[in-house]
């Protein structure tokens, strides 16, 4: 199957492990990804907090760019926030002719246009479990994740809200596709009650106590259920649960140690791929002790830290002061 692929800003850098592992498993799964030409940021949850038409036009530029690829009508996003933004824009443009008209007036200024509903926007998890399918995945498993207790974590935007004709591909309150996938890979999957709860999004930057509390609940929940690690499908969730885990521990004076890996990395491991080629080792909360349980060795990460450039950082103007 061929798909247009929208990596999104997170996968360019902080979640490059997600991108690398997705690309590594594409071939054995029989999937071909064509990156959207010169894509731009989806605006996350920030642009729509300031401007309505501009935020939708920003997203629609990506839809228009993706629609130029005529060999497929399926647009896949691995990031849940990108996925929801693209899906929402696609659905609202189809639903509301006046919004579609305004967006197209804006796109025309850049020589582009897009008709709502032309593409089908899908999350990477959706295409892997529904297009490739559990059976075909099971057939490729050579190193089952036997003995590994995992907490499947979906977060919010992959399953909520229901939008357009197709709604969501999994249950908005109690999703199960990731659970089933991880079982197929041979892992022991805990029935994680917080699996569709919120990671806090950008809250660590707005109100530390609110943000850290949302992170704490999830980490504590997985720890109480004796999970060896949390498996996620969103770079924002991974960033909050992994990179902010230390700051959360400091805030509450706790000592949780809960590694957080991507589902694409778990698929790669079960397919017998080597950990480093899946970007394992770039997580901040060390996953090695957990992976030792299934006999996976992770070499010390050999990451070459690039020196900051000598010349000053190109800083755009600060938003105007009040």
């Amino acid at each position: 199957m061929k798909y247009s692929y929208f990596p999104g800003c997170s996968l360019e850098r902080n979640a490059s492990a997600y991108h690398v592992s997705a690309m590594a498993i594409a071939e054995p799964l029989g999937m071909e990804f064509v990156e959207v030409e010169d894509w731009n940021c989806c605006g996350a949850t920030e642009y729509v907090s300031l401007n309505l038409i501009a935020s939708y036009a920003l997203i629609a530029r990506n839809l228009a760019q993706a629609a130029k690829e005529t060999s497929t009508k399926q647009l896949v996003a691995p990031c849940s926030a990108c996925y929801l933004n693209l899906k929402k824009c696609n659905a609202y443009m189809e639903e509301s002719p006046s919004l579609e008209e305004k967006i197209n007036l804006a796109l025309a200024a850049g020589g582009l246009s897009y008709k709502g509903g032309t593409l089908k926007v899908r999350h990477l998890l959706d295409v892997i479990v529904n297009d490739v399918g559990y059976e075909a995945i099971a057939a490729k498993v050579t190193k089952p994740l036997k003995g590994l207790r995992v907490a499947p974590y979906y977060g919010c935007m992959i399953v909520r809200p229901k939008l357009g004709k197709n709604g969501t591909f999994d249950n908005p309150e109690y999703p199960t596709t990731l659970d089933k996938l991880l079982k197929v890979l041979g892992a022991t999957v805990i029935d994680f009650p917080l699996k569709a709860h919120c990671c806090g999004g950008h809250m660590t930057q707005i109100s530390e106590s609110t943000g850290f509390e949302l992170i704490r609940r999830l980490i504590k929940g997985a720890t109480d259920y004796k999970a060896d690690l949390i498996v996620t499908l969103c770079p924002m969730c991974q960033l909050n649960l992994d990179a902010f885990q230390g700051a959360m521990n400091a805030h509450f004076n706790t000592t949780y140690h809960m590694p957080v890996l991507y589902f694409t990395q778990m698929i790669g491991l079960a397919f017998g791929m080597d950990a480093a080629s899946l970007g394992i080792g770039t997580e901040l909360v060390d996953a090695r002790p957990a992976l030792e349980k299934i006999g996976v060795e992770v070499p010390e990460a050999e990451i070459v830290v690039k020196k900051p450039p000598k010349e000053a950082l190109p800083m755009p103007s600060m938003p105007e002061e009040k």
Partner: protein
């Protein structure tokens, strides 16, 4: 056309209510008129305890025309976009979308109390408008310096961890079509100003 919005309300034509303004500024049909004040939204909200009004209360206040109180409230800024309320609402009110509408109206009228969240959005958008891509290091450091200088030290450990793992870029990426993107966004803002 553009003078219509600044001319005084002609006699006989009443001014838009705040409720109408909110509905008009929310994409699609947001079903706000159907709210039955059941409270399911507030009961589902993970950050409800930090909000000064629950979403249900906010909707009652919107209906009552309490524009200033609503737009000054921290409620929309504490919304983490989890969409639990939206999928649970028995009346299919697009609650999360309405929270975004309230943020936009508060920014437009400059009435929010705490500038931290709006500034975060503005800094984020500033990078996107100039480069076409988000830039985490620039965003986080500029935001911390402005709003939480002591937080720089607290977050430094995390930042160094990200850098040592190769997960933080030092320079932003600029898309090739930045000029065309800028033209699109400028046109979009023009259209917004006309509405």
């Amino acid at each position: 056309m553009s003078s219509a919005s600044v001319s005084p309300t002609p006699e006989g034509i009443r001014q838009k209510t705040f409720l109408e303004e909110v509905i008009e500024n929310t994409p699609g049909d947001c079903h706000l008129l159907n709210c039955i004040q059941c409270g399911t939204c507030g009961g589902s909200c993970p950050s409800g305890q930090d909000m000064d009004h629950t979403p249900r209360a906010i909707f009652a206040m919107i209906s009552a025309g309490l524009k200033k109180e609503v737009l000054k409230s921290n409620t929309p800024w504490y919304c983490v976009s989890c969409y639990y309320c939206t999928v649970r609402c028995p009346q299919s009110v697009h609650i999360t979308d309405i929270m975004y509408t309230l943020k936009r109206l508060a920014v437009k009228e400059k009435v929010y109390d705490d500038s931290k969240a709006p500034d975060f959005s503005k800094t984020f958008v500033d990078w996107v408008e100039n480069y076409g891509r988000a830039f985490e290091l620039g965003l986080m450091s500029m935001h911390l310096i402005k709003h939480n200088p002591f937080g720089v030290f607290k977050m430094a450990g995390m930042g160094m961890g990200m850098i040592s793992k190769g997960r933080m870029a030092f320079t932003p990426t600029r898309i090739k079509g930045i000029d065309s993107l800028k033209a699109i966004l400028n046109k979009a803002k023009e259209l917004e100003a006309m509405a």
